[in-house]
């Protein structure tokens, strides 16, 4: 047996397969705990850092006080309380939810189209969502306020996702180049239409604000608008975690997944709808923010392996942390000017994308790095 002689350590290590299982599970739990703590630290930082610096201890004082804990040491000003609770807190929460949601969508998309480069922004899904939202603004359909914006963004995302998928699929197997190229092509067309709508709109004063929104940003969010992204994210986490096993099956290939009991077509269609919903709602709330969904799944797979039961929660936590810090950077590096957070994520994500492409090319010829 060639395998046995080449890899003696693997042979001896698996002599006791039951205990062998434990380290990986423990490392998963450890990863979750560490990320959970990091998330708390990041949120504290998000509340503390800004034009007015609030010490972390005071941040906690304000937050616990607001949650109903009696704080006899309450010595902060009302202005600070307003900054922390009404300006920064919803923004930090939206950042965390958006980051988590985009990471979930990216993880699931990569399994559904069986391609490591899949991501809502790169596949044009975010552009579709943006166009939907802009159309609602320009044509003045404000019937249900934020809800109509989200519904339109959802519709735009869904149509785009199916179009990109069908285009990439025509001619059989989905290749990376076909997938990304059709995503880019649709994104360009959709963005062009959106810009056209904005520039020709008679609501010129709104156009500027909307243009800023299309770069992706978390500014100006209020508590009253947080429930929708929160609900979409919660739904997404629950459904995707429940179906993690099916996502795993897709890694084996469509035919193999079918023989293992997965109705691939139906599962993919349903999950596409769910992913479009999450993307649409998040884009309506925060604008199109790219590359979070690309980077997070790949990074966490290095730590917890490829099983979606572990990748999904880990990627969600990672995405939340990443976007909170990206937003902190967005409002501090050029203060008092604020940089759209989408610009910063693209600055990190573009090079990451190139690295992934190179890695996959290397894998094509020989045994690549993990």
């Amino acid at each position: 047996m060639t395998a046995g002689t080449q890899d003696a350590p693997a042979v001896s290590a698996s002599r006791n397969p039951v205990t062998e299982r434990e380290p990986r599970r423990r490392s998963f739990v450890t990863t979750l705990v560490v990320l959970g703590l990091l998330l708390v630290v990041s949120m504290t930082a998000g509340l503390a850092i800004g034009s007015v610096r609030v010490p972390p201890a005071q941040v906690w004082g304000i937050v616990t006080h607001a949650l109903g804990v009696d704080r006899p040491d309450a010595d902060w000003s009302g202005a600070r309380e307003t900054i922390v609770l009404d300006v920064r807190a919803p923004r930090v929460l939206l950042g965390a939810m958006t980051g988590a949601g985009l990471a979930l969508v990216g993880t699931a998309l990569q399994a559904l189209v069986r391609n490591p480069l899949a991501e809502p922004y790169l596949l044009g899904v975010s552009s579709g969502a943006s166009l939907g939202a802009v159309a609602v603004i320009v044509f003045g359909v404000t019937l249900f306020g934020q809800v109509s914006l989200s519904v339109a963004a959802f519709a735009g995302a869904l149509v785009t996702l199916f179009l990109v998928y069908t285009t990439a699929r025509s001619g059989g197997r989905i290749t990376s180049s076909r997938l990304v190229l059709s995503g880019v092509a649709y994104a360009s067309v959709l963005t062009a239409v959106m810009n056209l709508l904005l520039l020709t709109s008679d609501r010129g004063n709104e156009a500027r604000a909307v243009l800023a929104w299309t770069l992706g940003g978390l500014g100006g969010v209020r508590w009253s608008t947080l429930w929708l992204p929160g609900a979409a994210l919660l739904l997404g986490i629950c459904v995707l975690l429940a179906q993690a096993r099916s996502l795993n099956l897709l890694l084996a290939g469509e035919e193999a997944a079918t023989t293992m009991g997965l109705n691939v077509g139906r599962f993919r269609a349903r999950t596409f709808v769910l992913l479009s919903l999450i993307t649409g709602v998040l884009v309506a709330a925060a604008g199109p923010i790219g590359f979070v969904g690309l980077m997070m799944p790949h990074i966490v797979r290095l730590f917890v392996g490829g099983d979606h039961r572990r990748v999904l929660p880990t990627a969600a936590l990672g995405g939340a942390i990443f976007l909170i810090w990206a937003d902190i950077a967005a409002r501090t590096v050029a203060a008092p000017m604020e940089i759209p957070v989408g610009v910063l994520t693209a600055l990190c994500g573009g090079p990451f994308f190139l690295w992934l492409m190179r890695r996959d090319a290397r894998r094509g010829t020989g045994r690549g790095v993990v």
């Binding site: 060639t2 693997a10 096993r245 469509e254 035919e255 079918t258 023989t259 392996g305 099983d307």
Partner: protein, 271 residues
């Protein structure tokens, strides 16, 4: 695990205007090992696809213990029928153990975790293909032969009573070819397997079906099917067939340099 009865009844498959398989009848009784042989493009893979429910027949039926396979829910069928297909795996980082554990999916409800029983089934599946030592290796770093054994283990983890395999001995060295076929032989499940190597097929299969251009041209026990005339007709080669003194199975020796008909007729038509 007792074997399931498979019967393919007049199945015709097309892809666009092209006929892949035409009016094929095939049966595999409980516990039988049935081999599917024929040149490349003769429709072996397509026929198997119809059996494991990926390529829908244009006419005819695939019956598994009498039930129409295409009328069953995918999940239900997957608890009876497992397949080893020729579809490359994606390059996501899964350990061998996790790949084999996928085979437990059709037995799982939405939120079920892996139980100790599942882990035991996964390990005994790996053990039966002599791959337990690979359990914690990353799947995408395995050699072709190692992968193939792991994929067979995954099918076994489904605890099927009908196993369909598309050229499972491809990429395997001779020792592992014998291993894999020996494993299939030892199962109580019914086995339908497409094979390239006629001698292995003759030795390990109870009955053979020979396909050419999408049609069954001969079927029956290997000793009856593998004749000089048939090999000349189907493969376009001259061959000598003798019963091997030690195995008792027909032994085919090809005689090079004497093509009996132009190879183009063998039909480079499909898959």
């Amino acid at each position: 695990m007792t074997g399931t009865e498979l019967s393919v009844e007049g199945v015709t498959l097309t892809a666009g205007a092209q006929r892949l398989v035409e009016d094929v009848f095939l049966t595999a009784g409980p516990g039988e090992v049935v081999g599917l042989v024929g040149p490349n493009g003769s429709g072996k893979s397509s026929l198997l696809r119809a059996v494991y429910r990926v390529l829908r027949p244009d006419s005819g039926a695939v019956r598994v213990d009498g039930a129409d396979a295409w009328g069953l829910p995918v999940r239900k069928l997957a608890r009876t029928l497992a397949a080893v297909v020729q579809d490359s795996a994606a390059d996501f980082d899964l350990a061998v153990r996790e790949v084999v554990a996928m085979g437990r999916s059709p037995h799982k409800r939405l939120l079920d975790g892996d139980t100790a029983e599942d882990r035991h089934i996964v390990e005994s599946a790996l053990d039966s293909v002599h791959a337990l030592d690979l359990a914690d290796r990353p799947f995408d770093r395995l050699s072709g032969g190692e992968r193939q054994r792991v994929l067979i283990a995954r099918a076994l983890a489904q605890q099927p009573t009908l196993l369909v395999l598309d050229e499972p001995t491809n990429h395997l060295d001779i020792r592992h070819q014998l291993d894999v076929l020996g494993i299939l032989r030892s199962l109580s499940a019914t086995v339908l397997v497409a094979l390239h190597d006629l001698n292995l097929a003759a030795y390990y299969c109870d009955r053979l079906y020979v396909l050419r251009d999408g049609r069954v041209v001969s079927s029956g026990p290997p000793a009856e099917v593998l004749t000089r005339g048939l090999l000349a007709e189907v493969y376009g080669v001259d061959a000598e067939i003798a019963v091997h003194p030690r195995t008792g199975a027909p032994q085919v020796t090809f005689l090079p340099g004497t093509p009996t008909r132009p190879l183009t007729g063998a039909g480079p038509s499909a898959t």
